[in-house]
Symmetry: none
Subunit: 198 residues, 4 copies
DNA sequence: GATGAATGAGACTTCATTCAT
DNA sequence: GATGAATGAAGTCTCATTCAT
């Protein structure tokens, strides 16, 4: 008994660290490696080693490698989105505010274009549906912010917010998917948003 | 040599025609197999066998497997799109016409959802740029038709057409990517299009 | 402690009965799943869930997954064999009686050929020796019945019974292992048994 | 041109070595490694390296690892069987001759019991049916030899040969599968064969 | 006895693509 | 242009089993 306590103090093992902490370590490890090496170039083994867990344990927290990407993205993006909305100038026009939001979001993706491409691919054709909740949570945060912006000028803020996001999404895909210039995509987007909000 | 010339004289354009016929056989074989077995489950060897050509010959006509999917899709989709636009009732409202177009396009994708998912993934993150021309050709046909529809009510038909397509594309992805119901996606889309065209 | 005694007095044999009941549930669960999904496709976790016990508890009752197969088989087969011997017509010739036995046994295996293949593989190359007793018990039952059949016509009933079973076993393997037709295997077997018993 | 010839002379490549030679090299490599390290412990990569071919090339010649075992076994066993039959004393009694054959065959398996266990398992539950021809060829050779032995004393040599082999097979499995002593298995077998041939 | 979170070994095979002919 | 034998990279995730509680 006394020994066990002593052992715990000397070498706190893996087991007592709780699930949440473990999940956090996994996401942290995945993020580091995905950004440093790319998605395909990162092996699940590397992530497990970096997170200090067993190879199999990883799959108790994420059903597949792609789910790890969603988890990484959701954490980062949610924070990013909240910052973006927090920093908006309320005096700017709705279109300007929307553009500010979307420009920042694109800038976020620009930091790691390849990883964002993999992410979009994953959103279009999900490898598992386990992380659907994460995506929903993120989308809700975005829609909520967009609605606040368009509310003053839109009869149906929800519809307008969804439309605005759809236009952004198309611009994003045009940029990521076909080498459409980011600037050109944004220019188009502004025109379209102006048209949308009359 | 002399023989070759003679053959050419007897059947002018023969080589070229052979090439086209061979390409047609390849696309036909790919389509059959992709639809029957799915994209990943179909091997390039199977396609070569079905098209009655050598394994290596295939890659003289398509740089990679994904290009075959684009070829299959472009042929089918271009025809589908033309039919759709041809059958529109010019008396219907622009929104109704747009919805008719998009409903038919979604119905086309519904015939093979999985294959459409692969296609969208491919459009978002192309494996090769060789078939970009095919995509452009198709998009031009679509934009052209959409512009005709929105022209009566839009100041900038090109912008409106692009926006309309963006809204459709988002609906499409929502449906394919997340099991969002097709009906629900279409309902949303109609509301958004109404908003867009005021 | 005192409580434990009291409990034991209230329900004597309770612990033992619980253990047997639990084992019965495990075997029942394993049988369902093996038959429904196949051996390889069934996980020990599924069996544990179905038997309503912990994942680790399973291995208190069976040293390994293969042992579960033996347990399933032994229960079923022992009952089957007893029925078969009970229903024999004593007036039939020994060869006819043997054939009746073996036909029924093959029919039993025919109900789940794939599982029987796994079983035979397991008998040829056992994963553990823990369940050897089960196999012996079953074999004894079979030999005993076969000896009763051949006794009237064999000088050494034990030898004849063993030979008869060997001939059956070969027929069984020929059928399971190589797609030899069941009918053909049985025809061969009858000829061989006739030769054996003169 | 001249260069190509020079290169060929300096470094005769893989390609010109024909298919048969390649298959022989593969089987040779597999045999070495299976015997030296055991079946499970040998990787297909090792075999490919040893045979001096590409990893994938291996699977042009054997559909799966198990097929390699059949190929190895068939070659060895066919030779072994022919030797055994060639060396029989025609003056010995049929039972003695049969026993000589089966003792030698068991001795062959005794040289690598574990590999033989894997082989038997494979025969009971084949991983592929591609090598069925090999098994048939071997069995034909064995049956043919056995028929010659039993012909003098059996009305139906074919049936007797098959029965004799079945009895041997059962003894073999008893020995390999359950640690039944080889000597005991052979003793039983002799008794049974005596009974069979009256 | 019971639990269930954690472990970690593990190597096969596929199949798009190439390139010598 | 056509062929098809040869290549070889590649790495996830499963799942039986353990063992601290």
């Amino acid at each position: 008994m006394a020994n066990a306590v002593a052992l715990d103090q000397l070498a706190p093992g893996r087991r007592e660290r709780n699930k949440l902490e473990k999940q956090a370590r996994i996401v942290w490890a995945a993020r580091q490696l995905f950004h440093r090496q790319g998605f395909a170039e990162t092996t699940t083994q590397q992530i497990a080693v970096e997170a200090d867990i067993g190879t199999g344990t990883l799959f108790l927290y994420a059903k597949c490698k792609e789910d790890l990407l969603i988890m990484v993205f959701k954490d980062e993006m949610l924070e990013t989105v909240r910052e973006i909305f927090a920093r908006l100038s309320p005096k700017a026009s709705p279109v300007d505010q929307l553009m500010a939001v979307f420009e920042h979001m694109m800038a976020y993706h620009a930091r790691d274009i390849d990883l964002s491409r993999v992410l979009l691919r994953e959103l279009v054709m999900p490898s598992s549906l386990d992380r659907r909740g994460d995506v929903t949570e993120l989308m809700d945060a975005i829609y909520s912010g967009l609605m606040d912006i368009v509310r003053p000028v839109a009869d149906e803020p929800e519809v307008a917010a969804r439309s605005a996001f759809a236009l952004y999404y198309f611009a994003l895909i045009s940029w990521l998917g076909r080498g459409f210039e980011r600037r050109a995509a944004l220019t188009h987007l502004r025109t379209q948003l102006s048209g949308l909000l009359k």
